[in-house]
């Protein structure tokens, strides 16, 4: 397992958000966590990247314990978190945003290569290079957030709601890119409310309900599961 989460518990004060969750991501996989609002999906990603501290349980990355590791050290190890709501640096230019993504890297040639690869994947960003990040459209901002994450050359990318607030055509585009990123060798842990899209690109999936995993299995299987269809996919999902 590249990333392994064991019996993770997280609480915000007295309110427990994650109540003993275990799952894993293998090298080269796309794994998705789906579930309703407040199920604890984002909290799990934040705990993996070290922004939120676990109450109990452990997170292992490539065999090493990272439960108590500071966020900047987690990034250096190869875990990159693309947070919910994009969170780009609005007053910095697109180029500066991307350079911030490469902050943990000191090798100029590698940074240059990464930036070229980001431009190949997101040509729009190249056109907007010296524009402040805050002036981009929602879709472009999501591309920038993902591009910025890729600048760190992560082994695993934690994507939190990449489709949030995007037009359907852009959602399709973002998910195509997620698959491309995965095919070029980056493992992906994807948190989504758009369960239909997430299940269509993922290898495996976990369904999260109020802090615990209620179902898990290959994505295709879950997609066919009657309970999942009813609760998360709706009619569109059932037809797809």
């Amino acid at each position: 397992m590249l990333l392994e989460v064991k019996d993770l518990q997280v609480a915000y004060g007295a309110i427990s958000a994650v109540k003993g969750v275990s799952f894993g991501v293998d090298e080269g996989e796309i794994v998705t966590l789906i579930g309703a609002n407040g199920a604890g999906k984002s909290t799990i990603l934040k705990t993996i990247s070290g922004i939120v501290r676990a109450k109990a349980g452990s997170v292992l990355f490539a065999g090493a314990e990272i439960t108590q590791t500071a966020p900047h050290d987690v990034v250096k190890m190869g875990v990159c978190h693309v947070p919910e709501g994009r969170r780009i640096f609005a007053n910095l230019t697109v180029r500066e945003n991307l350079l911030m993504g490469a902050y943990t890297r000191s090798d100029g040639d590698a940074i240059k290569g990464n930036m070229e690869r980001v431009f190949q994947r997101f040509p729009r960003l190249k056109e907007r290079l010296s524009q402040p990040g805050g002036t981009l459209s929602g879709g472009e901002q999501q591309m920038l957030a993902m591009g910025r994450g890729l600048m760190a050359s992560p082994k695993i990318l934690l994507l939190d709601e990449p489709s949030m607030g995007l037009a359907p055509i852009l959602v399709q585009q973002i998910f195509d890119i997620i698959q491309e990123i995965n095919q070029s060798g980056t493992s992906i842990l994807l948190v989504e409310q758009n369960a239909n899209m997430a299940l269509s690109v993922a290898n495996r999936a976990y369904v999260l309900e109020t802090g615990t995993i209620s179902l898990s299995g290959p994505a295709a299987e879950l997609r066919a599961n009657a309970k999942v269809q009813e609760a998360y996919l709706g009619e569109a999902g059932a037809l797809a």
Binding site: V82, R95, I111
Partner: protein, 335 residues
């Protein structure tokens, strides 16, 4: 590697200095005018410190005057008590002021910089009040500090030249810091702390760094202030002094060095200029006119006089741009 863009303004600044210094040497300016010019330079240094903390790093501080006071008292004690007024000890005294303010900034920054926005403001406000009370009662521990009676007998060592070059050094330091990769990390914390965390930036480290640099600059300004007015009183470093500098930084434009310099000099000149312009019986109106000026400036320029704008050598340097171009050679031309 010094380009004309750097050399020309440096020469201009030097020319301004030479003109003013000549005027001072030729006794064209009276003691009061010299003091105001010197104080304006000190205020630039003081305000630049807060701009690093609040303007660039986004950490709201209402206690900047505490560090100004700490620097002032520390350096005054060095020249007055340790070296018995020996003028040669002045650089050492200034260094002691910087070091004390920076060290205390570090110690207080570690616990309180976890707080955000308003909460940090309240914590720094509390710290400022604490320091002032400490100054008020300091004579009980160190009699020489004078407590509420004030600290007298400080040698007058701050000349216009000292204040001018200290301010110039502060400007160069802040500029080079902000345009370094450390500076980008500092700014990214202001922009979005969670994203900065996710990018692998040690946000605690950079918040502390900005706070320490800002405190150190306040300490430098404090040391110069102590040796300009030769008398220190705790009330010189109360909450209102923290508000003054906060106003100057916001008025100049958060995250603009040019703005801070213009606003700091402008603010000192405005307050003193009104003293000259207004008839004696209207002097109290100063405190009505300058808030009005502030309100008008904020309405006309909501981001401050120079919000997000830098002039001349304070713009991102050629070196920085060249570095960025080297990172992305092809796109540099197309963009």
């Amino acid at each position: 590697m010094l380009s004309r863009r750097i050399l020309l303004p440096a020469a201009a600044a030097l020319a301004v200095f030479v003109v003013l210094q000549t005027a001072i040497s030729a006794e064209l300016l009276n003691a009061y005018q010299i003091t105001i010019l010197t104080y304006a330079c000190i205020f630039v240094t003081y305000a630049l410190g807060l701009n690093v903390i609040y303007g660039y790093n986004g950490q709201f501080s209402l206690g900047h005057a505490a560090f100004y006071g700490i620097g002032a008292y520390a350096s005054a004690l060095v020249t007055k008590i340790v070296f018995q007024g020996n003028p040669l000890s002045f650089p050492l005294a200034l260094a002691a002021g910087v070091a004390t303010a920076a060290a205390i900034g570090y110690l207080i920054g570690l616990p309180i910089l976890r707080l955000r926005s308003d909460y940090l403001g309240i914590a720094t406000l509390g710290f400022g009040i604490m320091v002032k009370v400490l100054f008020d009662n300091a004579d009980k521990v160190i009699p020489a500090m004078g407590g509420a009676r004030g600290l007298t007998g400080i040698p007058k060592l701050t000349s216009f030249a000292w204040a001018f070059f200290a301010a110039a050094a502060a400007v160069i330091l802040v500029r080079n810091l902000i345009y370094s990769s450390h500076g980008r990390a500092i700014v990214s914390v202001r922009e979005d702390e969670i994203a900065a965390d996710a990018m692998g930036i040690n946000t605690t480290k950079y918040k502390t760094l900005a706070f320490v640099v800002g405190s150190g600059l306040a300490g430098l300004a404090g040391g110069l202030y102590a040796h300009l007015y030769v008398f220190l009183h705790p009330s010189n470093f109360d909450f209102l002094k923290s508000v003054d500098v906060l106003m100057v930084v916001v008025l100049g434009g958060l995250g603009s060095m040019t703005g801070t310099i213009i606003a700091a000099v402008g603010w000192v000149f405005l307050l003193e200029g009104l003293r000259i312009v207004l008839p004696q019986e209207f002097l109290d109106w100063r405190m009505v006119i300058y808030p009005l000026v502030m309100i008008i400036v904020m309405i006309l320029r909501p981001r401050g006089l120079m919000g997000g704008i830098e002039l001349g050598p304070l713009k991102p340097g050629k070196v920085v741009r060249r570095l960025k171009a080297a990172l992305v050679p092809a796109s540099g031309k197309e963009a």
